[in-house]
């Protein structure tokens, strides 16, 4: 029990930056470069932690608190989510609602910090983030509702640890809709390429990066780390929906999970390398189609029975 708890926490805290490294490596491969080493995100975090932060005189405590609060909220969401077949440390009836709203809290404080800088550029990014956030959140909730209906449970750990075991055989098409919709939400929430380019820092079309331009030093480290954990958690969610099969040996399950999530990171890297970014006014259509996918799935579940 204690071993599984500590493994859960170790994977949650240590593993996420590696995903960014894998995505970077895949993109470098497609571009014909060698690319930064897999451990580059860890080096970046280490470097940033040893740098001093610069604060603008127009900012107040919100700007300083936001990176910490957002990272804490994302890590708290990670504590609710079963990872690699391990039971999460905290679980209760209806914790999936808290799971989604912790991400909303993380987004909210970052938006506040962006507004706090007083820069119109960051305000623009904040407005975009809020717009896309409210569209992706409702899709996220609909998808979780479908999973809750399928498994008859309202807690993430009960849904993903056995609740969905027979669903692929019974209502496979609906789960495919959920997976596609989740994947689109994942790309939007983590500002990956068809929606937003995480590499650029000086373009008028970017969304997430523009909000964190004024953060530096350890604040930036918090934000980058929080972003990696968020990507990891969304990936874990997606992987748990796709692969419901579990061997009973926890070590094999853990390695399977890690391979699955690395596979997902490779997929994201391939998507990023092969697609061009959408025009900004097309992004709501993408989110809207994700929403419609989950609506269709929900209707089918309601009509079909579960």
């Amino acid at each position: 029990m204690n071993i599984s708890l500590s493994l859960h926490l170790i994977i949650l805290f240590v593993f996420p930056p590696l995903l960014l490294g894998i995505i970077g490596k895949i993109k470098a491969f497609f571009a014909g470069r060698i690319g930064p080493p897999l451990w580059q995100p860890y080096f970046d975090l280490f470097k940033l932690m040893h740098k001093a932060s610069v604060y603008s005189v127009t900012t107040n405590w919100i700007f300083r608190a936001a990176p910490m609060v957002s990272t804490a909220a994302i890590l708290a969401a990670g504590i609710l989510m079963p990872i690699a077949g391990f039971k999460p440390p905290v679980q209760f009836w209806g914790d999936m609602v808290l799971f989604v709203y912790l991400f909303a809290l993380a987004r909210f404080v970052i938006i506040l910090a962006a507004l706090d800088t007083g820069s119109s550029f960051e305000g623009m990014g904040a407005s975009r983030e809020a717009t896309f956030g409210c569209l992706s959140e409702i899709t996220m909730f609909l998808n979780l509702t479908i999973l809750a209906l399928l498994s008859g449970k309202l807690s993430l750990s009960e849904i993903f640890l056995g609740g969905l075991s027979s669903s692929w055989v019974l209502v496979g098409p609906v789960l495919i809709l959920v997976v596609v919709s989740f994947f689109l939400v994942l790309l939007v929430e983590n500002s990956r390429i068809p929606i937003d380019d995480p590499e650029t820092h000086l373009e008028l079309t970017m969304i997430h990066e523009v909000m964190v331009l004024d953060h530096s030093g350890i604040d930036l480290a918090y934000i980058l780390y929080g972003k990696a954990v968020k990507l990891f958690l969304f990936g874990a969610l997606l992987v748990s929906v796709i692969f419901t099969f579990k061997t009973q040996n926890f070590l094999i399950d853990m390695f399977l999970f890690i391979f699955e999530i690395i596979g997902l990171a490779i997929l994201i890297g391939v998507v990023e390398s092969t697609m061009a970014r959408l025009r900004l006014n097309k992004v709501p259509y993408l989110l809207f189609s994700a929403f419609i996918f989950s609506i269709i799935g929900l209707i089918v579940i309601l009509v079909r029975g579960h």
Binding site: F291, I296, R304
Partner: protein, 214 residues
């Protein structure tokens, strides 16, 4: 539980949404062709246990007619009048998607209220045929280019075809062939209309038909 039929029907609805959401005529026609081919496979899944020769003929006729001949005809039409995309639709893409989403919800509600004399192999057949019909209507009403209206009409016909598959056992082959023929003639007539509009007005905007001309 007919899981393959369900998957196909969901795919058909989603392809319908893609048709409604795209503004490029070429993409619309290609997706329409794909949807029609998938729809043509529905009888094979629905009557897998009691396959008859005439069911196969209807399905193959639908695949060939809607999946190959009609799209080629439409491609010929857009080459002839050289329109590429729907520039200014009456109803924008976002609103169209919202309306289609509402139509899907509405058709599921409607279908749950109806009682059918024949036994239905999947609960999704009737709602998806209704939603295809409504999406076709939305396309006819919301677009200005004659060719996207033709695609809307064909989408509507696809919905009717899906509904007719249910009655394939009860309906004689003649009626089925009538539907296909009707579709073909309608498309030919529309094609002539499209060409005449383009010859008269140098574009295929149906708005031109509402104004008087000497």
């Amino acid at each position: 539980m007919n899981i393959w039929l369900d998957a196909i029907l969901i795919l058909v609805i989603i392809l319908g949404l893609f048709i409604v959401a795209s503004t490029r005529l070429g993409t619309m026609i290609q997706i329409f062709a794909m949807q029609s081919m998938i729809l043509g496979c529905v009888p094979f899944f629905m009557y897998a246990k009691e396959m008859e020769v005439y069911i196969m003929i209807v399905a193959l006729a639908a695949i060939v007619l809607r999946g190959f001949i009609m799209p080629n005809f439409l491609f010929w039409a857009i080459r002839h009048v050289s329109v590429r995309s729907e520039v200014s639709p009456f109803i924008g893409v976002g609103t169209t998607l919202l309306l289609s989403c509402l139509s899907i919800v509405g058709s599921f509600l409607l279908a749950s209220k109806l009682v059918f004399p024949v036994s239905i192999s999947s609960e999704l057949v009737i709602p998806s045929s209704f939603s295809l019909i409504i999406m076709g209507f939305i396309l006819i009403v919301g677009r200005t280019k004659a060719i996207s209206q033709v695609v809307g009409y064909l989408l509507l016909e696809n919905g009717i075809f899906l509904f007719a598959i249910l009655l394939l056992k009860k309906m004689p082959l003649l009626v089925e062939m009538g539907i296909l023929l009707d579709l073909f003639i309608a498309a030919v007539v529309m094609g002539i209309v499209v060409n005449n509009i383009s010859d008269e007005f140098n574009n295929t905007d149906t708005m031109a038909l509402t104004t008087l001309k000497d």
